[in-house]
Amino acid sequence: MPPEPLTLPTAYADPAVKAFGTALRAALSFGNDYASLMDFENAETPEAFAEAVKKFLRRNYQSGSKPSATDLERLMTMAATPHDVRVLRAAIISYGLARWDKKATEGKEEKS
């Protein structure tokens, strides 16, 4: 039986997507990293998505909100098809639309 296609609510609830989503939100808020946002938004294939992730991690390697290696591995496993990529990029940028404790994250960023 083929695996069920990835859905938006499932992707959003995944811990790896959450790690990348919150990291991107922090990068946008404190580092004005719009380049990473554009990379994620323009990624249509698993290869382009992997490239976007790589660039994002390179740009934000000192960030306190940086995702772990496990998160990275899991995210790459999830991005298997162009459909998965469309779902994942929508789920990742969605973290920017949710309310969050900006001050707590700012403190974390400063410590790092």
């Binding site: 959003y12 469309r86 929508a90 969605s94 309310r99």
Partner: protein, 350 residues
């Protein structure tokens, strides 16, 4: 007591007739007993408690209140200053033929489409004169005319249930008209919802924007009304809509259609905690999007509400995120989605 309005095929006309008959029964009982409208497929069934006592219509305060409403002018927009004559004609027909209406509706009120009364275009855009179909003999057709009983009930229903939103577009006034289709609605609940929804409107960027905002307000009002009362009979299957634009000295119909609001109603009646917050954020997006310069925000949320999908959600998320990250735009935390609300929005998109 059960009254039936048989459908004629003119969707807006039929829906208005159902609202009109329900309003008439509501006036006859002086608002004490509320009729329930149910869509039974080929007909609208209007049920009233058997013990309901009817009073003199001419002395009913509810009847006089309906006759005093401003919407008559919009329903008879094409009559210009003579709209009051048409309103008086509706009053005269209903008061004079009340017993016939009540008797005929028990067996099923069917409309005659070759009657003496011209159906106003601002009530039913399909009634406007002009070319209505492919023809090799005649190049135009007359306006649709119906029998006077169904004409009067439809006009009454349009006054009660249609929302006319006047909007200035390129220096000329256009009208965006919306009408919710009752699936199962107690008339008193409809009036309560009307109070909550019909008075609120924004500067819209087109008909779709007006319909999406109206539908979201309607769903939110249903959610509020249903809170703590899960067995509430209050469901609309969709929203009929069309626009009118000035052509020379006359108004003509432009775009129109029906928005199926099953997904929105299911969301509103789910009772889950994040739904109210999701509607609050959507409401903010419509308000913010109505401001000049924020058209992209309005278009994205309109597209998402009207045609939910991964693509429309993504477009909405991208546009909204631009506003959130741009400090000059000043989107407050309170206007963002909560985690629960975001999950509801994603489920709506799925």
């Amino acid at each position: 007591m059960r009254s039936i309005v048989l459908k004629s095929g003119f969707e807006i006309f039929d829906t208005c007739r159902a609202y009109g008959l329900a309003q008439l029964l509501h006036c006859l009982t002086r608002g004490v007993v509320a009729p329930v409208i149910r869509d039974a497929g080929q007909a609208f069934v209007i049920e009233l408690q058997p013990a309901a006592a009817f009073s003199d219509l001419a002395k009913s305060e509810e009847w006089h209140a309906v006759l005093g409403q401003e919407a008559w002018q919009q329903v008879f927009l094409t009559y210009k200053a003579r709209w009051t004559e048409q309103r008086e004609k509706v009053r005269a027909v209903i008061e004079k033929k009340l017993q016939t209406i009540l008797t005929d509706s028990r067996g099923g009120l069917s409309a005659e489409l070759d009657g003496p009364c011209t159906l106003p275009g601002p009530l039913e855009p399909g009634a406007f004169k002009g070319l209505k179909g492919v023809t090799t003999t005649a190049y135009n057709e007359a306006a649709t005319a119906v029998d006077e009983i169904n004409w009067a009930l439809a006009c009454l229903g349009a006054v009660v249930a249609q929302r006319y939103r006047a909007q200035k577009v390129s220096g000329k006034w256009e009208y965006y008209v919306t009408l919710p289709i009752p699936a199962l609605v107690r008339f008193s609940d409809f009036h309560a919802i009307r109070e909550l929804v019909y008075g609120h409107s924004l500067a819209y960027h087109g008909l779709s924007n007006a319909v999406a905002h109206f539908s979201v307000m309607l769903a939110e009002a249903i959610r509020q009304r249903a809170a703590g009362n899960p067995s509430l009979p209050l469901q609309f299957s969709g929203v009929l809509y069309f626009s009118l634009f000035p052509s020379g000295n006359q108004f003509k119909p432009a775009a129109g259609g029906v928005f199926q609001m099953g997904g929105l109603i299911a969301l509103a009646l789910s009772g889950r905690p994040g739904v109210a917050e999701a509607f609050a954020t959507w409401s903010y997006l419509f308000r913010r999007g109505s401001v000049q310069g924020n058209e992209d925000l309005a278009e994205a949320i309109t597209e998402f509400v009207m045609a939910p999908s991964l693509e429309s959600y993504y477009r909405h998320a991208r546009v909204f995120l631009r506003y959130v990250t741009d400090r000059r735009k000043g989107v407050k935390q309170d206007n963002l989605y909560t985690e629960d609300a975001l999950r509801e929005v994603m489920n709506y998109a799925a």
